[in-house]
Symmetry: C2
Subunit: 281 residues, 2 copies
């Protein structure tokens, strides 16, 4: 008999979130407030342009305003920060998303830092990161928050479980490790210098792949019965996980697409609506 | 034949640090600058009073000014922040240390946040924490920095090693996990909800105990040849590690006292001197 598998359906989680958001947006509109997200795209990277467009479309469908700021690839750090400050000062803008990565000569960290904490709906500032690591952030980074959201939606226990996170970026591996830790998981964070990665991943009751390499996580790295969350998205619609191979051992798994991606966008909308609610009082 | 053991002598590491600091302090004094650390003690907890006194004495011995601010245990958050702001605004104060913990009714986080980032020599602000987690802090928390300092002084490799940290406090477990991760260790962070803690600790090439429980880490939890760092200090001069038992399996170990403690204080002095150097230019 084949063991039953649980496919963690990101579209379902996102739809559930958006249903709740629709009510919040209605209540705001009664007060004359329309939540508004500003997205900033610097340069002409096609993937980044796609992501920004998807975020704008998702806002539109839900009745959230979105303002798009497109800047040329030769924008200076100073000019980018000036653009961010304009959005910081605009009372009609509730959330600001600077699409990562920005072109290389720009000091991305300085640009992130320029975002006002109460508009930092993607948790990219140092202050937002640390508030999240300490467990009191209003807006944790969207992808990490989406991962926790999926696990919680499916009532997957986190407390006391061993979570193995592969990746340590400031907007994904590090904050998701912090959030799992705050949910009382024992957390191991791995990366390119990790020795015997397969053995470490095999310890995981929950495995989060945030590597940025297609089909990187192999099926036999997964402990039988583990939960696999694939936060990767690579060319050709591949995640960071070898889905079919990992599904064999996993109890539950997020597909790519329709896994973490849609919940990340729904989380961004949720944070924007919450920022508008705070602004409105 | 008994395997050779390495006792990681904190007094030796601290002495080495202070020797370098003496030169820096001399050069500052030629410019008419005396580094100055302000310590704030709220209430009358005897251990906290001892720590503050030790820090003040260590300053004195090295020719660093120290200003002690003693506040009664019924101090309000507002009054404490006002005291901190006074120190923030005083150009003669280069570093500010608020002794943890403050009495319960005070919002300690709000008080920590009030410390100017360029005077946050113990890395207690959210901004300081995140800068450290992202690898560009001027002043990481002193105990975590001391732990890294000891490992580096004794040329203990960190990259690619599995570090197991027991504890997840904002000023010890979390930042030391972050620093070990940035030094390319694979890092597992454990805590009171960790299942099978002994088995997890047994994975560690480097084990950091930051639990606050005397002799908590047992000898048979230590993988033969591991490095054991005891960041605990409990009544009766006990660390968080059962020293004699752990020494049997460990290759290297920090004693208590004369392990992490003196290096923590030396690190605080170092950060204060560095803050004075930055102020002086």
């Amino acid at each position: 008999m084949k063991a039953e598998k649980l496919i963690l359906d990101g579209n379902r989680v996102a739809a559930n979130m958006k249903e709740k958001l629709a009510g919040q947006i209605n209540r705001l509109s009664e007060k004359g407030i329309v939540p508004c997200l500003a997205t900033i795209l610097v340069g002409d990277d096609p993937s980044s342009a796609t992501y920004v467009r998807m975020k704008g479309n998702a806002c539109k469908r839900l009745g959230i305003h979105s303002v798009r700021v497109d800047l040329p690839s030769n924008t200076t750090t100073y000019e980018l920060i000036a653009a961010i400050n304009k959005l910081n000062d605009d009372p009609n803008i509730h959330g600001i998303l600077l699409q990562h990565p920005v072109p290389h000569p720009i000091d991305e960290r300085a640009a992130f830092e320029a975002i006002r904490i109460d508009k930092d709906v993607d948790g990219v500032t140092t202050q937002g990161f640390a508030q999240n690591a300490f467990g009191f952030a209003d807006y944790p980074s969207c992808t990490p928050a989406a991962i926790i959201g999926i696990l919680e939606y499916y009532n997957i226990p986190i407390e006391g479980k061993h979570a193995v996170v592969i990746g340590r970026s400031p907007i994904l591996g590090k904050p998701v490790s912090a959030m799992l830790l705050n949910k009382n998981a024992t957390v191991t964070t791995c990366h390119s210098k990790t020795a015997n990665l397969d053995n470490i991943v095999r310890l995981g009751d929950i495995v989060v792949a945030a590597v940025g390499k297609p089909k990187f996580v192999q099926g036999d790295w997964i402990k039988p019965g583990a939960i696999v969350v694939d936060a990767g998205y690579n060319k050709g619609n591949f995640g960071d996980v070898d889905y079919d191979a990992c599904l064999k051992n996993a109890y539950a798994i997020t597909p790519v697409p329709a896994g973490v991606g849609p919940v990340t966008i729904a989380t961004l909308l949720k944070h924007t609506v919450e920022a508008a609610e705070k602004f409105g009082y």
